[in-house]
Symmetry: C2
Subunit: 169 residues, 2 copies
DNA sequence: AAAATATACTTAGAATACAAAGTATATTTT
DNA sequence: AAAATATACTTTGTATTCTAAGTATATTTT
């Protein structure tokens, strides 16, 4: 198996594990992974707009809309329209949304978190650096066709940051 | 941002990049990422069954069924039932399926492959090792609730291998 | 040989995820 | 001030992904 195949295969395993966990989560916490993560972000980014939440989650606005729909229909959040700019929505946790968050587990399987915590510090850093490297190499691509990307450059973080502004030009 | 959050965030970025690329791919190759990867596996695992393909792709059988449906309806594959065991399906590439594969790009964006190839060998190995480590730590979880997993053990590869046999017990 | 179990696949239903098109509001240009 | 653009969100339509339940065929037990 060549190296790109190994990358592809292990990523697919990871994606599947996340998905399976999300589906397990429904049974214990009665919310899915993305729903739980969105709830957490609504709490931590108090007063944030739907768009800001989408960016923070690396999801499209359309996807966040549909997750908000489900959370709203279950009474976990409320959509509050901004007074100063009526286009904007500020999702707010309801009491039951807050209550659910207080008892919910992590959005990654506990046993993963436990195992990760037990790794040596250098290995944790290696894993995070590798994941970020892959993310940078991959999502730099999505800035249009990015025809003039200087591959040697080290500060990819900037390119990644630009992503959120794709529509602003 | 804590370490688990960094893992979660970079994974989400990677997943999104893969998804966006898959959607770009439709425009150039008229198949999605999963469809293309399935076609490749059908070619390389000549005579394999649907279940074997699902395992190789780390997908459920139901998902492979639905991807096969779409490929079949477009005439890219044919479902051939096994003579010796009529429960089994052996997907076969049609002529147009073969033709498409010959002209299709890689299932990861070309520019990612190019960038990855340009990394130093040690960095490539570090990335692959990290991804596999994460995959092992995550999908070892999916072996039922795995209540008696020895966390200290190093040979996680075995646990991961068992996954494919989940239904055989 | 009949009944019970197991395996391979499909179907049904739900959540996630996207792009593209649509609507409402805000900002900029003319 | 009117027209043109831009932004924020929603709607529509499609694909992917899962589980759970269903169907058909094979294997094992009784």
């Amino acid at each position: 198996m060549n190296q790109i195949d190994q990358v592809l295969t292990s990523l697919r395993r990871v994606i599947r594990a996340i998905d399976l966990h999300s589906k397990q989560l429904v049974k214990t916490a009665s919310v899915t992974g993305p729903q739980l993560r969105l709830l957490q972000l609504i709490r931590s980014q108090q007063g944030g707009t739907a768009k800001e939440l989408a960016d923070a989650m690396s999801l499209s606005q359309a996807t966040v809309t549909s997750i908000l729909d489900r959370l709203e229909s279950r009474g976990l959040i409320a959509r509050v329209r901004s007074q100063t700019d009526k286009r904007k929505i500020h999702p707010q946790l309801t009491d039951s949304g807050n209550a659910l968050l207080d008892t919910a587990p992590t959005p990654l399987q506990d046993s993963f978190v436990r195992k990760f915590d037990q790794l040596h510090s250098w290995e944790q850093h290696m894993i995070i650096a590798s994941l970020q490297r892959v993310a940078e190499m991959m999502d730099a691509d999505t800035i249009d066709a990015s025809p003039f990307l200087d591959i040697g450059s080290l500060d990819r973080a900037e390119a990644a940051d630009l992503q959120g502004e794709k529509h602003s030009r």
